[in-house]
C-alpha cells in the first residue's frame, strides 16, 4: 500500500514536472522579491538594527514608540484627508471626463490620448513641473493670478491650501488610467438602453443616473477600492512638494520615509509603521478580491 502511494506520488510529480518547472521561476521570483522582503520587514519591526552590529530583539518597543509619537495620528489623519479629497476630485473627475469624451463625435482618439498623456510622464517629472507651477515667488499660477489682478496663493506653503494642492497634482497625473477604463465601460453599454430611455423622455441627467451609473457600477466599485489602496500610499507628491517636516501634509508613507531616512534613521520604527499600513491596505485588498471573485 505504501509502495503504491509513493509510486502514485512519484508518478504525479513526474507527469507534472513541466508544470512545476514553469511554476518554479515564478515562485522563486515572488519568493525573493516579494515574500522574503515582506517577512524580513515584519521581523525588522520587532528589532533594532544599525546594519553594522547584529540586530537585537526589542519586542513591541517600536510599536510603542509609534503610538507615542504625536505625528503618528497626524499622519493617519492627513492620509485620510488626502484619500477623501482624492476621492472627491480623483473619483468624480475621470468619470465626468469619460462621459464628456464619450459624447464627442470627432477627435475622440485625440482626447483619449490627451487625457492619458500625464500618466505617461514619469511621476517625478510631473511633480517637479507642478512644483514650478506652485512656486509662491516665481511660479506660473501666481504669475497668471497677478496678471489678472487676482489675489495670489501660497499653494503648498499654506496650511489651508497645501493638501488641496497635492490632490490636484495627483488627480492630474493619475486620472488618465481611470478615464480610459470608464470609456471602455461606456463603450460596452448597449445603445438600445439609451434609445429606450430617450423614448421614455429621460433627460441627460436621468440617462446618466438610471442607465450609465447602474451599468458601470462594478467598474466604479473596483476603481474606488483600487484608488483607496493607491491614495493611502501617497508619497511622491507630499515628499517632493512639502517635504518630510511639514505637519500639514505629512502622510503615512512620508512618515515611514522620515523614520527611516531623514529624521530618525530608525529602520525598526519605519518597519513597524509599514506593517500597520500593510494591515490596513490588506483589509481593503481583501474586500476588493471578494468583490471581484463574486463578480466572476
Amino acid at each position: 500500500m505504501t509502495v503504491g502511494a509513493s509510486e502514485r506520488l512519484r508518478r504525479r510529480i513526474g507527469d507534472n514536472l513541466q508544470a512545476y518547472a514553469f511554476l518554479a521561476a515564478g515562485l522563486v521570483c515572488f519568493g525573493l522579491f516579494s515574500w522574503y522582503p515582506l517577512v524580513k520587514g515584519i521581523i525588522l519591526s520587532f528589532q533594532q538594527d544599525n546594519f553594522v552590529t547584529p540586530p537585537y530583539w526589542v519586542g513591541l518597543d517600536n510599536y510603542r514608540a509609534l503610538f507615542a509619537d504625536p505625528l503618528f495620528g497626524t499622519a493617519w489623519l492627513n492620509t485620510l484627508e488626502f484619500t477623501a479629497l482624492a476621492l472627491l476630485f480623483g473619483y468624480a473627475v475621470p468619470f465626468a471626463v469619460a462621459l464628456v469624451v464619450n459624447e464627442f463625435r470627432h477627435a475622440k482618439g485625440f482626447f483619449r490620448v490627451a487625457v492619458y498623456l500625464p500618466v505617461m510622464l514619469p511621476p517625478i517629472v510631473s511633480v517637479l513641473l507642478w512644483k514650478y507651477f506652485y512656486d509662491p515667488g516665481s511660479g506660473l499660477f501666481n504669475a497668471v493670478l497677478s496678471a489678472l489682478h487676482l489675489p495670489t496663493s501660497e499653494w503648498t506653503q499654506s496650511p489651508k491650501m497645501a493638501m488641496v494642492s497635492l490632490v490636484l497634482v495627483s488627480t492630474w497625473a493619475n486620472m488618465g488610467g481611470a478615464t480610459i477604463m470608464y470609456l471602455a465601460g461606456l463603450a460596452g453599454i448597449p445603445s438600445e438602453l439609451y434609445e429606450a430611455a430617450e423614448l421614455d423622455g429621460a433627460s441627460v441627467w436621468q440617462r446618466v443616473r438610471h442607465v450609465t451609473i447602474p451599468q458601470l457600477r462594478f467598474i466604479m466599485l473596483v476603481l474606488l477600492l483600487l484608488q483607496i489602496v493607491a491614495t493611502m500610499q501617497v508619497f511622491i507628491e507630499p515628499f517632493q512638494l512639502t517635504g518630510t517636516t511639514n505637519p500639514d501634509t505629512i502622510t503615512v508613507m512620508v512618515l515611514i520615509y522620515r523614520y527611516a531616512f531623514t529624521v530618525n534613521n530608525d529602520f525598526g520604527l519605519a518597519a513597524a509603521m509599514s506593517v500597520l499600513l500593510f494591515i490596513v491596505l490588506g483589509a481593503f485588498s481583501a474586500v476588493y478580491l471578494r468583490l471581484t471573485r463574486k463578480a466572476d
Partner: protein
C-alpha cells in the same frame, strides 16, 4: 524535436535558470583573507565628466601607490548622500574611508557605525595642528576620535565694496553690528537704480540656515541639550530680535527689495549683478560670483558676522567604517595624510590652482594652526591671485568669534524655520511670536529623534 522533448528541454532550462537566479541572489561573498597589500575603498573620486579633476585624482592615487606599495586604493565616485548612506551600509557597499559633512559625525558615532581611530593618530603628526574646535566635531562623548576634518567654512558678511564707496560708506570698515547693517542698508538703497541694501534667503532650507546663523551672531541658540534630550531654543527674545530686524528692514525701511523667497543661487546672482549691497555668506561664494556670474573679485569684501557673538560654521571630513582592521585604519590615515589633510601639499596645490585660473588666497578653508598654518600662509602668499586685503576684516576678526555648528537634524530643522523667514519677508503683518511658537512645536518633534 518532438513536442514532448521540446517541453522537457524548456523545463530543464527553466529549472537551471531558476537555480542560477537563486544562486545570484543568495548570501554575500566573503572576501578572501589577504596577506599581501592592504586594499582600502575610499570615495570622492571625481566623475568621468570632470576630466581635469579626475586626471589629478588618478595621478594622486598613482603617486600614493608608488610611495606606499603595500596600500592599494580602490576609489569610488560620489560623496556623502544621507539618503543612501544607510542602504549602502546595510548592503556592505559603504567605503572604508568615507566623506562626511560636519553635521554627520555625532549621529554616526552614537549609532556605532564608525571606527575609533584614536590609537592610530600618532601616525599622522599634523593632526596636532588641526584647530581644536574642528577636531571636536569628530570626537565622541567618550573622548575618542572617529574621523578627521578636511575643510571648514564659517559665515560672515559679504558686501559690495564698490557700492559701499558710492554710498559714502567705508569699505575697509564694514558694519560690525546689526544696527550698523540696518543703517548701511538704508544708505545703499538710497543709491537707487534697483540696488538692494541687504538680501536674505527664505526657500529650500536656506532661510532656516540663515536664521540660525543670524541667531548665533546675536548670542542665541537653535537647540540645546537638556539632559540627553534636545530641545528647541529659538523661541526667545534673541529669536524675536532676529526676525524683527528682518521685518523692519523689509517693511519699514524697504531695504531688502520686493523680490523674496530667494534661495542660494539668487543672492549670488544679485551680488554678481552689482545690485546687492550686503548678505550673509562665506568666502566660497566669491569664486562662484566670479566664475559663474562674471563678477570681479575687486568688487567684493568679506567681514565677520555682524553681532559677533557666534558664527555658524560647517565643513567636511572623513570617517572610517565600523569594524575596520587596524591595518585598514592605518592605511586610510596614510591616504588622508597624503591626499587631503596634508599641509605640505598646499604649496603644490596652490601652484596647480593658480595655473588653472582657480582662486588662491581666500581665507577659507583653513583647518590649520601652528606650523601647518604657517606653511599654508607661505603657500598662499606665493600664489595668491585674489585681492586678499578685501578679506582683511574677516581674517582679523573671525578667530575671536566662537564657531558654532549646525543644530542636530539641521536640514529638517531648517525646513521648518524657512516658513518663519518666508512669512516675515512676504507678509507685512506677520506675527513673529506666533511664527516662532509654531516652529518651536514642530522642531521639538524633530529634535525628539536627535541623538
Amino acid at each position: 524535436m518532438n513536442r514532448r522533448m521540446l517541453g522537457k528541454s524548456v523545463a530543464v532550462a527553466l529549472i537551471a535558470g531558476t537555480a542560477l537566479l537563486g544562486a545570484a541572489c543568495s548570501g554575500e561573498d566573503k572576501p578572501a583573507e589577504s596577506t599581501g597589500p592592504v586594499t582600502i575603498t575610499v570615495n570622492g573620486k571625481p566623475p568621468a565628466t570632470d576630466a581635469v579633476n579626475l586626471a589629478n585624482f588618478e595621478a594622486d592615487v598613482k603617486a600614493f601607490e608608488a610611495k606606499y606599495p603595500n596600500i592599494k586604493i580602490d576609489a569610488k565616485e560620489g560623496f556623502m548622500d544621507p539618503q543612501t548612506f544607510a542602504t549602502k551600509l546595510a548592503g556592505g557597499q559603504l567605503e572604508d574611508v568615507f566623506y562626511v559633512y560636519f553635521t554627520d559625525p555625532q549621529a554616526l558615532i552614537a549609532k556605532k557605525q564608525v571606527s575609533d581611530i584614536s590609537a592610530y593618530l600618532d601616525t599622522v603628526p599634523q593632526v596636532k595642528d588641526i584647530q581644536e574646535q574642528l577636531m571636536k566635531v569628530f570626537t565622541g562623548p567618550d573622548g575618542k576620535v572617529y574621523g578627521l576634518p578636511s575643510a571648514n567654512y564659517s559665515l560672515g558678511l559679504v558686501y559690495n565694496r564698490t557700492l559701499f564707496t558710492k554710498a559714502g560708506l567705508d569699505p575697509a570698515n564694514p558694519p560690525k553690528t546689526w544696527e550698523e547693517v540696518r543703517t548701511a542698508a538704508q544708505k545703499l538703497k538710497a543709491l537707487g537704480d534697483g540696488v538692494v541694501g541687504y538680501g536674505d534667503y527664505s526657500k529650500s532650507n536656506t532661510g532656516g540656515w540663515h536664521f540660525t546663523a543670524e541667531l548665533y551672531s546675536v548670542g542665541g541658540d537653535i537647540a540645546v541639550k537638556d539632559g540627553d534630550k534636545w530641545k528647541a531654543a529659538f523661541n526667545s527674545d534673541k529669536g524675536k530680535q532676529v526676525l524683527q530686524q528682518l521685518k523692519d528692514m523689509r517693511w519699514t525701511d524697504d531695504t531688502m527689495g520686493s523680490r523674496q523667497l530667494l534661495e542660494w543661487a539668487d543672492l549670488i546672482q544679485m551680488a554678481a549683478s552689482g545690485k546687492l549691497g550686503m548678505y550673509i555668506g562665506s568666502s566660497d561664494n566669491l569664486p562662484v560670483i566670479v566664475n559663474q556670474y562674471k563678477g570681479k573679485y575687486e568688487d567684493y569684501g568679506l567681514s565677520v558676522m555682524p553681532g559677533g557673538q557666534g558664527t555658524l560654521g560647517g565643513g567636511d571630513g572623513y570617517m572610517f567604517k565600523a569594524g575596520l582592521s587596524p591595518e585598514k585604519i592605518k592605511a586610510g590615515l596614510t591616504w588622508l595624510s597624503f591626499k587631503t589633510i596634508n599641509p605640505d601639499r598646499i604649496m603644490a596645490d596652490n601652484e596647480k590652482a593658480s595655473k588653472a585660473g582657480q582662486p588662491v588666497g581666500l581665507p577659507q578653508p583653513n583647518i590649520w594652526t601652528g606650523a601647518s598654518a604657517a606653511k599654508r600662509e607661505e603657500a598662499t602668499k606665493k600664489f595668491a591671485n585674489v585681492p586678499s586685503d578685501n578679506f582683511a576684516p574677516f581674517v582679523a576678526g573671525n578667530a575671536s568669534i566662537p564657531l558654532k555648528l549646525e543644530p542636530p537634524l539641521a536640514q529638517q530643522v531648517y525646513a521648518v524655520l524657512d516658513t518663519a523667514m518666508q512669512k516675515v519677508l512676504t507678509d507685512r503683518n506677520a506675527d513673529i511670536a506666533k511664527l516662532l511658537a509654531d516652529a518651536e512645536a514642530q522642531v521639538n518633534t524633530i529634535l525628539a529623534a536627535a541623538k
